[in-house]
Amino acid sequence: MTASPSIGPTFEEIYRKLAPAVVGYLRAHGVDDPEAVTQEVFIAVLPKIGSISGGEDGVRTLIYSIAHARTVDHHRRTARMPHTVEYERDLDMRLTASAEDLAVGRADTSNVLSMLSTLGDDQREVLLLRVVADLPLEQVATVMGKSVGAVKQLQRRALLTLKEHPHITDRRPR
């Protein structure tokens, strides 16, 4: 199946369906202004959408391929220059949920992001693409340019590493 070039509402539906997860994926990578970068990703996808094969899965793979490239660019850029963005509370992994946050049920992901930072880059990327982006193994392999077997191994090692994280071992009943 090939996505129609006349995108109008269809592309808007795709945006509404996938944009929140793309924002979460970029936020987990610590990208500055993930909402703005998400919009850049969709703007970059738009000219190519007529040539995508594979229906919604194909669109999803392309979107995360571009988002993945943006995160790589971001990490290279931040490695070269000092980080000079304003303080953003949501990105601060040292914080715990306030009573207010707990009361209104706001998502507090600082704990899990802190744990993910202990993983290797590829292991963390596999988990984010599998869990946040909701991609199957084959599409994760396409986005990362690796074989399915390699992705499977990375995923397995990531889960085993997380299992041994102090946050989890402390919670475990003795």
């Binding site: 924002v23 909402e35 703007i43 738009l46 993910l116 199957p136 397995r156 889960l159 085993l160 299992k163």
Partner: protein, 175 residues
């Protein structure tokens, strides 16, 4: 996504340990839809196409734009064809080209031959610049390439150019 999909080859204790963590991670994808920027909102609207596609079409109409190497190669090719045509049509052009090559090989600017700056005779200049002759030992003993290039021409100007070895500018000023 059902996180159980992740655990196809993971033991049960690991599954129990990391499932709450993965569910927490999954909540990252549950945020609000970001409000589209003006550009994206315009693209999401009907009957609006991205400028990017127009740019790529315009780029395709000018295939060499943005490829300086290709442009340079094309320019060199055009020059080569022009020079070849001129050489084929005009014997004088060939002669002049030979003079230029001879001048380059002798380390002498070609325009000095043609502008008549040949007041210094060969033996004088060689005598005044012994260091230079030692730098280029073959030059003073070997016959001029111009002679061998045009043995039967009998062109007086060519002959005079071949026998005169003008002094380089620095030496001329010293004399």
């Amino acid at each position: 996504m059902n996180v159980d999909d992740l655990f196809s080859d993971i033991d049960e204790s690991t599954v129990d340990a990391v499932t709450p963590l993965l569910l927490e991670l999954r909540r990252l994808a549950d945020g609000p839809v970001p409000t589209p920027s003006a550009e994206l909102a315009a693209l999401l609207a009907k009957n609006v196409t991205s400028l990017e596609s127009r740019r790529s079409r315009r780029q395709s109409r000018h295939p060499f734009r943005g490829h300086p190497t290709i442009t340079a190669l094309v320019a060199v090719g055009v020059l080569a064809v022009g020079v070849g045509t001129a050489a084929a049509v005009s014997p004088e052009f060939r002669s002049g080209t030979t003079d230029v090559i001879t001048g380059v090989l002798n380390g002498t600017p070609a325009n000095q031959h043609s502008s008549g700056h040949t007041g210094q005779s060969g033996p004088d200049s060689q005598g005044n610049s012994g260091g230079n002759s030692s730098d280029a030992p073959g030059r003073s003993h070997s016959p001029s390439p111009t002679h061998s290039a045009h043995p039967g021409k009998g062109n007086g100007s060519t002959h005079s150019r071949a026998t005169n070895h003008p002094t380089p500018p620095a030496e001329a000023s010293a004399n």
